[in-house]
Symmetry: C2
Subunit: 227 residues, 2 copies
DNA sequence: GGTTCGTTTATTGTATACAGTGCGCGTACC
DNA sequence: GGTACGCGCACTGTATACAATAAACGAACC
């Protein structure tokens, strides 16, 4: 033991060192702008213009664009120019089929690893969902619920893969809401019992059961799809 | 039609516009160094030092490190310092379980989309494998084979997910070879017929058949694993 | 002697400056 | 009128310079 400074109240847990960098903020803000539709498909993302709008230099913007490319929100052409990616309905089909595979895998993994904390969190989230009457809010809670399941899997490559499609799912959701899509009101009544059943099967510890429950959950989502 | 320049020999297909940038080269070279073990686990990746070694400035290096983080080869600590990620055996277990899910999905997708070109390429690759007597070379050809299958799926999110684990697979392979691992010579005799069977089932157009063939292929790989 | 405080140093984060490049537009020439 | 050439503009790619911060070391004080 080299340094023996005073032991510092052990309960006190400070903010988790959020690596606050302009580049990180830029990622968040540009991502949000794309999801909200503030930046439209095919819009040219000129580094100078973005930098000016964000009040920073081009460097953080460049780094942000690289990350957003990985999330599938931004595209670079052969000359290095970036633009907001234009999603076709087929693109979303692909994203959701990817989601299907990832979540089924997550269910399988989670079945063996679910902790008491996970269960408590998930139950609390279901209660929150039950209290909601707004479809937009519900869909956000739903994504958060699935986020939490992925987190519960404690499986790094899975989490990384999930992050490559998460934003695209949000793009679709936001777009669907703006378009007053066909998401039915009945969804509210379906979501909560669906999640309860899913959680029950995840808790069973039975991988097959968990997988199948997730397949069912994904199938109900499937109906909300564009085409 | 705005400009009507002369029609330029249609067969002539130039190099695919490889976006040659120092940043891109840096990604390639640092990745290679990590895979080959030239940069060892936990090694600090100082931007200045890397820049000096590569003969460029820090900017391309920074951008390269961001990309390599997404490939799982590089880690950043809370203060922004990067280092070569240290893989545990559990990490590799996770990577290969992820690979399993992705490839099974790929098989399912490919079953419906395989073209004549795909088949020709894959067959040619199998022949190449059959001609090889070197285990290291064979494992590279094997990865290339699976790469080609992913490509044949023509499924963007799948390809992106695959790229998040591909380098890590290569790390494991290179490490295993350096350690004179338990990869058996019999692998050579097993690989080629295995791939032939797999290709046959991918061509069948039957999703279930294709999935199961891939599960089998993955299971044989499984034996080469560390633990 | 050990602890604490300043100073130095190493390294990242950000800004700015500069170089290179393709594209559009105008112009001249046929 | 159309085609080819050349110039300028709008961007990106890269380098360099500067600011900020935390670790490392050392010195002074108890």
């Amino acid at each position: 033991m080299n340094h023996k400074t005073k032991p510092l109240p052990s309960k006190l847990h400070l903010s988790p060192l959020a690596r606050r960098s302009l580049a990180g903020d830029a990622v968040t803000r540009i991502r949000r702008a794309i999801i909200e539709g503030e930046l439209a498909a095919e819009d040219a993302l000129t580094e100078d213009q973005l930098a000016a709008k964000l009040g920073v230099s081009r460097v953080p913007v460049r780094e942000a664009l690289i990350e957003l490319e990985q999330e599938g929100l931004v595209e670079f052409d052969a000359r290095g120019r970036s633009r907001v990616r234009a999603f076709t309905e087929d693109d979303f089909e692909e994203v959701f089929s990817m989601r299907y595979s990832l979540e089924v895998m997550a269910a399988r993994v989670v079945a063996k690893r679910l902790t008491q904390d996970d269960v408590q969190d998930l139950e609390a989230m279901i209660c929150q969902q039950a209290a909601t009457k707004d479809l937009t809010e519900l869909s956000l809670l739903d994504v958060a619920f699935h986020d939490r399941i992925i987190q519960a899997a404690r499986h790094r490559p899975l989490a990384v893969c999930w992050e490559t499609i998460r934003s695209q799912i949000e793009v679709w959701l936001a777009r669907a809401h703006r378009a007053q899509s066909k998401m039915k009101l009945s969804s509210i009544e379906l979501t909560v019992p669906g999640h309860r059943r899913l959680l029950a099967d995840l808790r069973s510890g039975n991988e097959r059961k968990a997988e199948n429950a997730m397949r069912l959950e994904m199938a109900t989502w499937r109906e909300w799809l564009p085409a």
